[in-house]
């Protein structure tokens, strides 16, 4: 009830519209090229690995091939659906990315509050607006600890550093920028959005971060914005869906 009340308060804000947009965004951003295959695409021959939309990998003929090797091969419809991480997988994934222990007191507290609203299955149809709220809260808790305790982030002088340094560090640590198969446009666009977030650019109609600049020092404000930018990446479908 406590969580529900808190969530209701949030929904009184313009965020209710944002939540709907979130759902739209996360459902429209699902990986392309992973459409469901037809039954006719299935191939039961042992040595033909070609699937509906894959290049043809080499047949598994190595000496290490187990005696009772796979009875089927090739991309199947099993591997072409988009799924969402369940709550347990999500928390472990956040922990792996940030290096923050799942047993950290702050993580435990937030996890217990949002647990029932996080997905219990991998079926993406279970995704609701409440799910995204909960994912955002959980990812923020990880980012809060991560930015405070990570040695690289701790060494940043937030009052003096430029955004590029922070963004590069964020992208390297939270997204796999070394993965050359990811389109560079992903990083470029994301870097641009993160830059807006870090600038607290209230003039940008798409980015309104509501950080009150009169309260915190520049360094504190930038650090909070860094946590927010981290949350942006961690709670995104790039991390939470597959």
């Amino acid at each position: 009830m406590k969580n529900f009340t808190r969530t209701n308060k949030l929904l009184k804000k313009p965020t209710s519209i944002l939540l709907l947009l979130t759902v739209f965004c996360l459902t429209s951003c699902l990986p392309k090229g992973v459409e469901k295959a037809d039954e006719s695409d299935l191939d039961f021959s042992t040595n033909n690995n070609s699937g509906p939309e894959t290049s043809s990998p080499s047949p598994r003929t190595g000496s290490d091939l187990p005696d009772d090797g796979p009875i089927v091969s090739g991309a199947s419809e099993l591997s072409t659906k988009t799924e969402i991480l369940n709550f347990n997988q999500m928390s472990m994934n956040f922990s792996k990315i940030t290096g923050v222990d799942r047993g950290h007191p702050m993580i435990k507290d937030v996890m217990s509050e949002v647990l029932s609203q996080l997905p219990s299955s991998n079926n993406v149809n279970s995704f609701t607006a409440f799910t995204q709220v909960s994912i955002t809260r959980l990812s923020f808790s990880y980012c809060d600890v991560f930015v405070d305790e990570d040695s690289d982030f701790s060494s940043i002088n937030y009052s003096a550093s430029n955004n590029e340094e922070i963004i590069n560090l964020l992208l390297t640590k939270t997204l796999d920028t070394a993965d050359s198969s990811n389109p560079s446009v992903l990083y470029e666009d994301l870097a641009s959005e993160l830059n807006d977030v870090l600038n607290n650019n209230t003039n940008d109609p798409e980015v309104t971060t509501y950080i009150d600049s009169s309260i915190d020092s520049i360094g504190d404000r930038k650090k909070r914005l860094t946590k927010m930018a981290c949350t942006l990446t961690l709670s995104s479908s790039y991390v939470t869906m597959f």
Binding site: K9, T22, C25, V34, L65, N93, S121, L190, L232, F242
Partner: protein, 489 residues
């Protein structure tokens, strides 16, 4: 800062996070065909561990696929070794999610770790024959030293007690620890080796010291609770007594204990931990979580019905066979519900004839905060309601398998055909053809993210079942093979 301002700021901040989340990813994932194998590798990794691989890990997986070593690399993923860094996620996430639905009637994943799920995880981790988990004496828990057992003491490092000096100073390890904290502000724990069952407080060769990050108040609270201290991790685990409540396992989960570490999480006997008599011990069927779910209230039929569901993948409706004789149907089943005897003959008997004949195995079990077992004492709830006085009266824990013939013979029942108690019933389940098939099906659902519906799916499940029987019920291998088979990589 006043509370209103704080709240306002907090709301605005979170609202900002939503917006940022929305805006960040309209451009995500512009995949091309060349990405497919990387996506498949990522899915395989997530299927096994629940976590995303790094690009280097994906490279290794694709390379292994091309050289025919994917099975070996998948094992590395599971065990988090040879360049794969997944911690304990296969055990703490995938296996926990796999076993958790068995420990509640509603099959919810939102259930904390418990003795039943912990034992499943331990069995799979240690490559034990998984069919034996249904009857063998085993329960997994954390290993450590209880605060009140006389094998652990704590001191502020600067307040070394003169009375214990002779004993403690005889351990060079203690001297080292004392010198590690020259300020003397930390607390030091002296303990007897928890991994050596024969060690005693008087044996200096098996006593050690270590500094702890816990404060005095935390240590005092742990003493009051008689909690368990795990020296290797410097962790306090709540409530060592697993018979009365589930706090021990909840604490393991809350502290994010690595279940792959066999110096911390290991097998022990259910005797004294859960039961006073060996007669009561029946693998998972005599764990506290199983009892809480299926021996609580009711008529103990749930223990049988959910054994069918969880270990044979069969709901009772699927097992309905009205051709089976009804002489073991108990007195609490109305033979003419609504005044119509045909309802009983055409519907009720289909389940109860077989179920009541076998659920006698649980006649001595009850749940009252913990599992109770009174040998020779049939729990009153099994004979309490009498709608048909000539029905079967349960007088002991004998059971017989009447479904060995008829429609349900296709389950490939094992042996024995009849017996006494839950342990022998567990043996029956574990030697049946339906058990490996069901395990293979559930593993498929876990790592393939769907139920088997197509011929291809069924073939994968069948192959998994065959593998399980041929490799000594090694579940880890089943997970790996099934995940690879349906990954498409």
């Amino acid at each position: 800062m006043n509370n209103n301002l704080k709240n306002q700021k907090s709301r605005k901040f979170i609202a900002g996070l939503f917006l940022a989340t929305i805006l960040g990813f309209p451009f995500q994932v512009l995949h091309s065909q060349e990405l497919d194998s990387r996506l498949l590798a990522k899915r395989l990794h997530i299927a096994l561990t629940g976590t995303s691989p790094s690009s280097a890990e994906i490279d290794r997986m694709i390379s292994a696929r091309e050289s025919g070593n994917l099975r070996r690399v998948a094992k590395d993923i599971v065990e988090s070794r040879n360049g794969f860094d997944n911690g304990s996620s296969f055990y703490n996430v995938t296996l926990k999610d796999f076993a958790t639905p068995w420990s509640t009637e509603d099959g919810s994943l939102y259930t904390p770790l418990n003795d039943m799920t912990a034992t499943v995880i331990g069995y799979i981790r240690d490559d034990k024959p998984f069919n034996e988990v249904l009857w063998r004496d085993s329960v997994y828990k954390a290993v450590g030293i209880t605060f009140k057992g006389g094998q652990l003491e704590y001191f502020k490092n600067s307040e070394f007690p003169e009375t214990d000096k002779e004993l403690h100073s005889s351990s060079t390890v203690c001297q080292d620890v004392i010198s590690e904290d020259p300020s003397g502000n930390k607390y030091r724990i002296w303990y007897v080796d928890p991994l050596n069952p024969n060690s005693s407080a008087n044996d200096v060769n098996n006593t050690y010291c270590r500094l702890t990050d816990y404060s005095k108040s935390e240590l005092e609270a742990a003493y009051k609770d008689n909690a368990l201290y795990v020296p290797k991790l410097d962790k306090i685990i709540a409530a060592n007594r697993i018979k009365e409540n589930n706090r021990h396992y909840e604490s393991l989960e809350a502290e994010s204990i690595d279940l792959t570490d066999d110096e911390v999480f290991r097998e022990t006997s259910q005797l004294t931990k859960l039961h006073r008599s060996t007669d009561a011990i029946a693998g998972l069927l005599s764990t506290r979580a199983f009892g809480k779910a299926y021996y609580s209230a009711g008529t103990n039929r749930a223990a049988f019905a959910f054994s069918m569901k969880n270990f044979f993948c069969k709901d009772m409706e699927e097992l309905n066979d009205t051709t089976v004789p009804d002489f073991r149907v108990r007195r609490d089943i109305d033979r003419a519900p609504g005044g119509d005897t045909t309802t009983f003959k055409q519907r009720c008997v289909g389940c109860h004839a077989g179920m009541d004949a076998m659920s006698g195995a649980f006649a001595y079990y009850n749940y009252n905060g913990g599992v109770t077992y009174e040998p020779g004492q049939v729990v009153s709830k099994m004979n309490h309601n009498v709608f048909y006085p000539d029905g079967h009266v349960t007088i002991d824990d004998s059971w017989m398998n009447l479904w060995d013939e008829g429609a349900n013979a296709s389950l490939g029942w094992g042996s024995p055909k009849s017996g006494q108690g839950a342990k022998e019933f567990g043996m029956l389940l574990s030697t049946s053809d339906a058990f490996p098939k069901c395990m293979s099906k559930q593993v498929f659902e876990k790592v393939c993210f769907k139920s088997p519906t197509t011929v291809r799916d069924e073939l994968i499940v069948l192959a998994g079942s065959k593998l399980l029987k041929s490799n000594g019920f090694n579940m880890k291998e089943l997970f790996i093979k099934t995940a690879i088979d349906c990954s498409g990589l």
